[in-house]
Symmetry: C2
Subunit: 590 residues, 2 copies
């Protein structure tokens, strides 16, 4: 008997899942699927997961449950050798290279959020693409409510309670509708927040929302959301996002702590490295979904640009849309084409007409256009739920989803902030002219290195009472005194122009510096050179008795990071810390 | 009318929650509760949450739901001014200091995991104390199964499928029982893992497990768990944990990727800074639960050492136990004492006899000793569930818990790995003599700075074929070439003695270096000084065309971190990257 043919599928979204499913029905093949997560994400449920209608795990299903018989590899793909017919993968846990052989390869990696539409979006936007995004958005919104309920600063409260969604397509409208619903329901637990304190703004560049649906349904949705208090701004262009809000073309600025980005998608870096022929960020295929120039390689799903054989009104060729309906169909189709090729038969071109589209807009309303029939309101919402319950793969996932929906109907929405988002050790921050980065009395938990632009620094000299002023430019730092002493900020720092900083998180930086003691002298020199004596940390904070005071040294802030007191070895090589600001939290980093 | 008295409670565990609840029934007071999370954690359910019987949010309940009328401040406490009667808090989101005034202060901050029992535990142990711990343990176990199912390395497979729990008390036994149950149920989805591949080891220093319960029940539990394949090692001392396993006294080494620590608790850094009189890591109080020396300050719960007025067999005074039963009682009692003091009446001493104890051991079994009656098996397990369902605060939390239990009964356990744990930018790693840190062919995603100990480095010189050997000591680095070029490791690094490294995550380090260009020259110098020319990165990886090759520069690995391509400003100041290893994942850091 001939050796079984190996079909390797990269990506476990709608396209990859359905390709694997169909192939798996043919025991003549060995099917393997590689995915960076061990689960399939049911994208249409993400807005409900972000809004807490369902628990985030309800929107996903483990690939192993869905594909018994298929080898599931939870890994990242590093490269593909099309000639040798093997993929080089990196296991997620142990960092070891594995080579995975294939006879046929199906590329179905999907796309990733593209946050490059305007400056600052990558740094300050929240995307809505996968399970972590839903988690993070939900936790972030609860954090804004928690904070707004106790703050005594009305300006901060207004900023915290302003929520901006960028993009009025399906994802933007559904997410906006769901979070409006969620916030409305949670307000009774936040006694100091009134409904009129909340501002939810949906910004769309085009002249209408829901471009994917007939105008009538878009109109219905628009007026529904407006009635519910959502401020929809059409024909509105955003120039920049910053740590303090979004900046519209024309100069208007919306102060907000929440920028949800639902616009744009792009190829994953892995796809870009393959060296295949691409257009609009997608891999070009022939009508059979084969990738030209490489044998037995197929591309499907959002990452593929598949011609449908037909033409649009303007004479350009029509391509498959990057939607779940198309991806599902392509998955089945590619499986049949691969079977045909292995059996020596010709593959067939892909064609499909979508059946319709539905959008849930929160508060038990949806809009739908199915088989030419247009529906809106509660009936459409029932249809939406019924359809997606049917489409969610796996019986147990369906039962769990039903149970979550049922509980949500009768019980108050949960306001548990499951995890506080932790800023990465080094992150970028974008500031627009006039943004106040630091002001006296703030706790700085990191410090800033200027990569672009400039800032005004003003500090009152505690001895003379005079203001010290310096312009900080590229390569300068500010806030670095927190490394030596975590006291409160004493100066003002204001952006003089559009600027980009790298923010280094204090705790991680202290550890880095421990590994590189020369950083300590670098900062000492920098401060000596750039600041008058009265502003140097040693003169503001009188020396303590410890000989190693003010030295960068190992931090012992939190449980997990704390060095065991009982560590037996060479305790003298460990200089004692500054009286660092310690956190009472028992939360561990990561 | 006199101004309302303000009672401030720090901590929202069993003690703080019940103090707030009782005080809140007296509208004469203004009650405020400060907690680092916005929810109450129902500790007894954490093992079930870690094992996926219930969803982690089922084990918690938002404090706002439980305490309507009480001001909930989601913040960290920075310091307390006992004289001025105010606490200085830091909001979790905006880093602004707020002062919170009080007339009476209740300290109920609980304790944190103390991972200092032996070297390496802090670096490589997983604790079981809060919701994040449960999440992390669950995700970690699923990751080990995923990896073990596809690895072709039998040694790695064995290490991944060995699970070690440290500590045979309640938490250790319940966690071990639940994860054995979970793994057993999940195996059918991992076709290449057999039951006999799994090793679950419970290590206890004392001569028996469940010291809190009568011997008969401990014995029952012991034989039950042993029958289920758990390897219980009594009278066993651990000397050290390392990245590769645990090292027992006597020299035996257990290779494992999972070390669950359930031993030890200690004061939070915040409590240590208060300057109060402490013993055994707990705040000393008088029998009325007042803290001596500071007026109107009370301490309750695990953080407090409260004398019960009685004596133990050995004549020492008896103290309240750090358990939920005691904490709940103390919460009510402190509320009544505060009311008494405000009304001019004397407070009463605290006294309480616990009613019993229960431990669930997985697979629908539990052991219980209640009102002197001892039970074991399924009946005890029903009792356990009934009791905790009753104790879980909040009707809607109860309903959600019941629904989760019901679904778990009929549906397969979910194997969704919700979030991959991300190593912090800078973390410590402990190595024991002989540990192989790097070997050829590994991907290194960071590099190592030696803080203690020494390592042998051996690399084959690609030109001469000879082995280059160097002993690396404190202050030396290894793996730093990955900063310049993320190729595979070419050398062996083996610990020569017990050693501690700091591991710097590559991605964050590249960003740090971008802020401090002098790091680049530091590493260049270091490599030039320490390695023969043939081993320098520029000679191993032939120069590329780009003029900025091999310079540390801004990484553009993942979506979120990628610098927008469209950024308009000063593109020339941004040197292009090396061909960095890019991840296909769309996961964002943090």
């Amino acid at each position: 008997m001939a050796k079984k043919k190996r079909v390797l599928i990269i990506g476990g979204g709608f396209a990859g899942l359905h390709a694997a499913k169909t192939l798996n029905q043919h025991s003549r093949f060995e099917t393997e699927l590689i995915n960076a997560n061990n689960y399939f994400v049911f994208q249409p449920l993400l807005p409900e997961a972000a809004a807490g209608v369902i628990a985030p795990p309800d929107a996903v299903s483990p690939l192993r449950f869905l594909l018994p018989g298929v080898t599931i590899r939870h890994a990242r793909v590093r490269s593909i050798d099309f000639k040798a017919r093997r993929a080089e993968t990196i296991d997620t846990m142990q960092r070891i290279i594995t080579h995975v052989r294939f006879d046929h390869l199906v590329l179905a990696p999907g796309q990733i959020s593209n946050l490059s539409h305007f400056p600052g979006l990558a740094e300050h936007g929240l995307s809505m693409k996968n399970l972590s995004d839903a988690y993070r958005l939900r936790n972030h919104i609860i954090a804004t409510l928690e904070q707004a309920d106790v703050t005594t600063n009305p300006e901060l409260k207004r900023q915290l309670l302003t929520y901006v969604t960028v993009g009025g397509g399906f994802s933007g409208v559904e997410t906006t509708g769901e979070i409006e619903h969620m916030i409305g329901g949670l307000l009774r637990f936040y006694p100091r927040i009134k409904r009129h304190d909340i501002r939810i703004i949906l910004i769309e560049y085009a002249g209408r929302i829901l471009g994917e649906l007939p105008e009538k349904l878009a109109h219905f949705t628009h007026s529904r959301l407006t009635k519910r208090g959502v401020d929809i701004r059409l024909n509105t262009k955003i120039e920049a996002a910053s740590a303090y809000g979004v900046h519209l073309a024309g100069g208007q600025r919306i102060k907000t702590a929440t920028i949800i980005s639902t616009i744009g998608a792009g190829p994953s870096p892995f796809v870009e490295r393959l060296g295949l022929d691409m257009q609009w960020g997608r891999i070009k295929t022939d009508p059979m979904m084969r990738v030209p120039g490489v044998k037995n390689v197929w591309a499907i799903g959002d990452a593929a640009l598949i011609p449908l054989g037909s033409q649009r009104g303007d004479g350009d060729p029509e391509y498959a849309q990057p939607t779940a309906q198309f991806a599902t169909r392509q998955g089945h189709h590619v499986a049949h084409n691969i079977i045909a090729v292995i059996n020596g038969n010709p593959p067939r071109p892909f064609s499909f007409r979508p059946r319709g589209a539905l959008a849930s807009i929160g508060r038990h309303h949806a809009v739908a256009s199915v088989f030419g029939i247009q529906l809106s309101g509660t009936l459409a919402w029932f249809l939406w739920r019924l359809l997606y319950l049917g489409l969610l793969p796996g019986i147990s996932a369906k039962l769990r989803l039903m149970s979550s929906w049922l509980l949500d109907h009768f019980l108050p929405r949960r306001a548990v902030q499951l995890e506080q988002w932790r800023r990465p050790a080094a992150s970028y921050a974008h500031f627009v002219k006039g943004d106040q980065v630091l002001r006296p009395g703030m706790i700085t938990e990191g410090f800033y290195t200027i990569l672009e632009g400039s800032f005004d620094l003003r500090i009152k000299n505690p001895q003379t009472g005079k203001m010290f002023h310096r312009i900080l430019r590229k390569g300068d730092h500010f806030g670095e005194r927190v490394i030596f002493d975590p006291s409160l900020t004493t100066g003002h720092v204001i952006a003089r122009e559009d600027s980009v900083c790298m923010v280094l998180e204090r705790h991680d930086f202290l550890r880095f510096a421990q590994g590189f003691p020369f950083l300590d002298s670098y900062f000492r020199d920098y401060i000596t050179k750039n600041f008058p004596a009265a502003l140097r940390p040693e003169n503001i904070n009188p020396p303590k008795k410890q000989p190693s005071k003010n030295r960068i040294s190992r931090s012992n802030q939190t449980t997990k990071n704390r060095r065991p007191a009982s560590r037996p070895k060479t305790p003298k090589t460990r200089p004692k810390l500054n009286p660092l600001m310690k956190k009472p939290s028992t939360k561990k980093p990561g």
